[in-house]
């Protein structure tokens, strides 16, 4: 038992130091490792497979709504950044530059893309001539780079993986519909697949994307009460179309600028998922995204081992056949207790135990990573039982995260109340805002919290600004954010 104990204590408790807990867990579960390049991580197989599962599900949703994937160059000529003024100001401080190649100095510096926004703009101008060419609905899965000063694995790294959708439309209405459709896809995906409840809303002008007319986001609450922006969708109006000359002949033969959108999520979703569901025992992965949904562990004395392992293998094949992501750990030199801790730490949602007595009774024991609930089920109904228990776990995880968010979400009226609340505990604060940047800045300076978004469905509409007391223009959600 001393080994088991030692095992657990290698993870810093969340209550002691949440950041250290996070690093301990992702290193120990082998999701990532630091690389020799500043601010860049290695996504190890256990971490990358989470991303592959995210990709597969999102990609299906994108394609079902008519989008296709493409791939644009990694390099962006320096001149491209000059074309959209807000865009250059937004990204210039974060760009790495290629200045030499194949032994020669380049005539024009090339940035490593922080987003392919400008490259899409340039190509769309070539491809779009007539309203018949619209809409153009293209997504890209790619690596992008933003040279970050302070990095945190998954949540903020200099290189990260993401998808960026860029669409062009005839009318503002269509482009706005697209913007909202993609935001809703993100909400549904993050809530259904990652079991993370989010606040959906519009960014305030100071927080919107460089070059957008309107930016919308979904915001998730981590277990330390801080926010992670889990996805954004932007209505660009004609800003990029004007900057890149994306024009089309409309149905009356007049030349018009297209209306464009863009939308993206990134590998920071992995970090968010860990910070929402993990606990002092380690990771906790929602079944839909878990690389391993069920870990099978044979138990019992050496003399029955062969028989038990044989039966485990049969059941393994049945579960695999049923489309369940299942693994067996039948190592003889590691104790079951050690394995239980190991897979709890790795966040495997369901553990299956099979011993000699279970063999006799034609049953297995299923144990939930989340609730600890043990369920004894018949082997001949195994696939159904496992499937339904995985569904319950997925559901439970969402409800648990939602309850946590509700506990740490407060609708308040004044900056003083907000300061008191955030001093006591961390969380989200909903409050009225007059619309002035000065008041927004004052909230940030005095509390460290930024406006996350103007929620579509506030819990209560506020009538006065929490800072100046003037009439509230919007009800805003504020939080400290990653």
């Amino acid at each position: 038992m001393s080994k088991d104990k030692q095992f657990v204590t290698e993870i810093t408790p969340q209550g002691e130091d949440f950041s250290r807990w996070y690093i301990d867990v992702i290193k120990k579960a082998e999701l990532m490792d630091y690389s020799p390049v500043r601010g860049c991580i290695v996504f190890r197989p256990e971490g990358y497979e989470i991303w592959e599962n995210i990709q597969r599900d999102l990609d299906r949703r994108f394609k079902e709504t008519g989008h296709r994937n493409a791939y644009f160059p990694l390099f962006i000529p320096e001149s491209f950044f000059q074309k959209e003024k807000e865009h250059v100001e937004g990204f210039n401080p974060e760009l790495p530059w290629v200045t030499e190649a194949a032994g020669e100095k380049l005539e024009e510096r090339l940035a490593i893309r922080p987003t392919s926004e400008t490259m899409f703009g340039h190509m769309y101008a070539k491809w779009i001539q007539s309203y018949r060419d619209l809409p153009v609905l293209i997504n890209q899965w790619a690596n992008v780079v933003r040279w970050e000063k302070r990095t945190l694995p998954f949540l903020r790294t200099s290189e990260f993986l993401w998808q960026e959708g860029h669409t062009a439309h005839e009318t503002e209405e269509e482009a706005r519909q697209e913007t909202m459709q993609m935001l809703e896809i993100y909400r549904d995906f993050v809530e259904e697949f990652l079991a993370i409840p989010v606040v959906m809303g519009q960014k305030t002008p100071s927080e919107k994307f460089a070059g957008a007319v309107d930016t919308y986001s979904i915001e998730a609450m981590m277990k330390d009460g801080r926010a992670v922006q889990a996805g954004t969708s932007h209505f660009m109006g004609t800003n990029f179309a004007v900057a890149f000359d994306i024009k089309y002949l409309d149905r009356s033969n007049n030349l018009q600028f297209a209306h464009t959108t863009s939308w993206g999520v990134s590998t920071r979703l992995i970090g968010a998922m860990i910070m929402v569901h993990g606990d002092d025992r380690g990771l906790a992965l929602p079944p839909k995204v878990a690389p391993t949904q069920v870990i099978m562990i044979p138990i019992g004395p050496p003399k029955t081992r062969e028989q038990v392992v044989g039966r485990v293998d049969e059941l393994y094949r049945e579960l695999k056949q049923a489309g369940i992501r299942v693994r067996v750990d039948d190592r003889a030199d590691v104790s079951p207790g050690w394995k239980f801790n190991e897979y709890e730490m790795r966040g495997v949602p369901l553990r299956l135990e099979l011993g000699p007595r279970d063999m006799e009774n034609g049953q297995v024991v299923l144990v939930s990573r989340i609730t600890g609930e043990k369920r004894i089920v018949a082997q001949d109904r195994l696939a159904e039982e496992v499937t339904s228990m995985l569904e319950e776990i997925q559901h439970d995880m969402f409800e648990k995260a939602k309850a946590f968010r509700e506990e740490n979400f407060k609708s308040l009226d004044t900056l003083d109340e907000m300061k008191a609340f955030l001093e006591d505990k961390r969380g989200f604060v909903e409050a009225g805002w007059c619309g002035s940047e000065a008041c927004e800045r004052q909230v940030k300076e005095e509390t460290g919290a930024t406006s996350r978004n103007i929620p579509f469905k506030p819990t209560a509409e506020k009538s006065s600004c929490l800072v100046c007391g003037d009439k509230a223009k919007h009800t805003v959600v504020f939080a400290r954010a990653y």
Copy 2:
């Protein structure tokens, strides 16, 4: 009809200028476009979807053989290239360098990865301690950059997409087995999925990968007789393990260097596939890789249009249900004849026509892109008929490509014979080789052909070197190559 004619003549005939034919086809079929960055292309949706189909099938094969995906940083510190001497010499002339980031000059220049070989090596040294950690079987799907002077879309671009597998093993034998297993996966994939027959064999020392002990390749013949190296698999011995200090404690508690392999294919497969199967009418895509396998075109006069389109939609849903990648082109303002040409040019393997008479007879017309064969089939057996015709087309394409290769493949004895053959027509030449670099170089200088590989199954074992006449050490396949 004049429009149809004009359409076809926009593609340069292969016999007139094969390179221009290639560019015409890939641009017109919207597979790619040139980007404003030298040597980098944009993969448009029609081209990128081919890559997605390639990825999906290969990825399945990799996973079935126990490999997992991971993601390593884009940037490689300059010092890494110094560690393996042949490797630095092989890649240094092609590297782009990041020298500045976020407004500051970097202390150490960062290369954009030409391969992640060195980064894998560095991380493997950290992850591998004991024989229990072996084998490590990791693959990466990523973009890589090699600054090329002369580029050709898909076949040679400065940035390209690929996968690179890197594995580490206890013994040489295991590593050699892995090297061969992956080569065989590539052969099977390229022949079965892309319908491209290949010559499998070992590279001569002068053509092997920078840092490898042995390199193996599969080589495909394009319609102009030139070769494309379609995939490579490398046995590294302990070269990279020594360079990066990848050591493990063996079963007797002795410290040993691991044996490593690497293997990769890239987006050049797309170019090869086009050059193997395309013709003067345009692309010809094997059904397994085609983004659209069946194009459905309603025909007949306006008065029956609504009825015909309605039936086409029903059949569309049936085919889709059966897992067939199918599209409908029911545009009313474009003639069927124009559409026929359009989708032949785009390489869609099967066309389905439905007119009023077919409606009456409960039938449809299926037309093969490859043979032009028309088949009238019953609507109530449509999915089976389409599936079997697609299988036949896949098979026919492979056989056709194989017949072409056999016609243009010659087993010869002397350099003079080879010169005469290559003057007359292009193709592959099989000949004896003494093993000296001088003779290999002379072949290249006098014919422009390089040794492609030493085939595992030569059509005939040769006894003397085609250049010096000395005893042949190997039978080698030579060809001009892309």
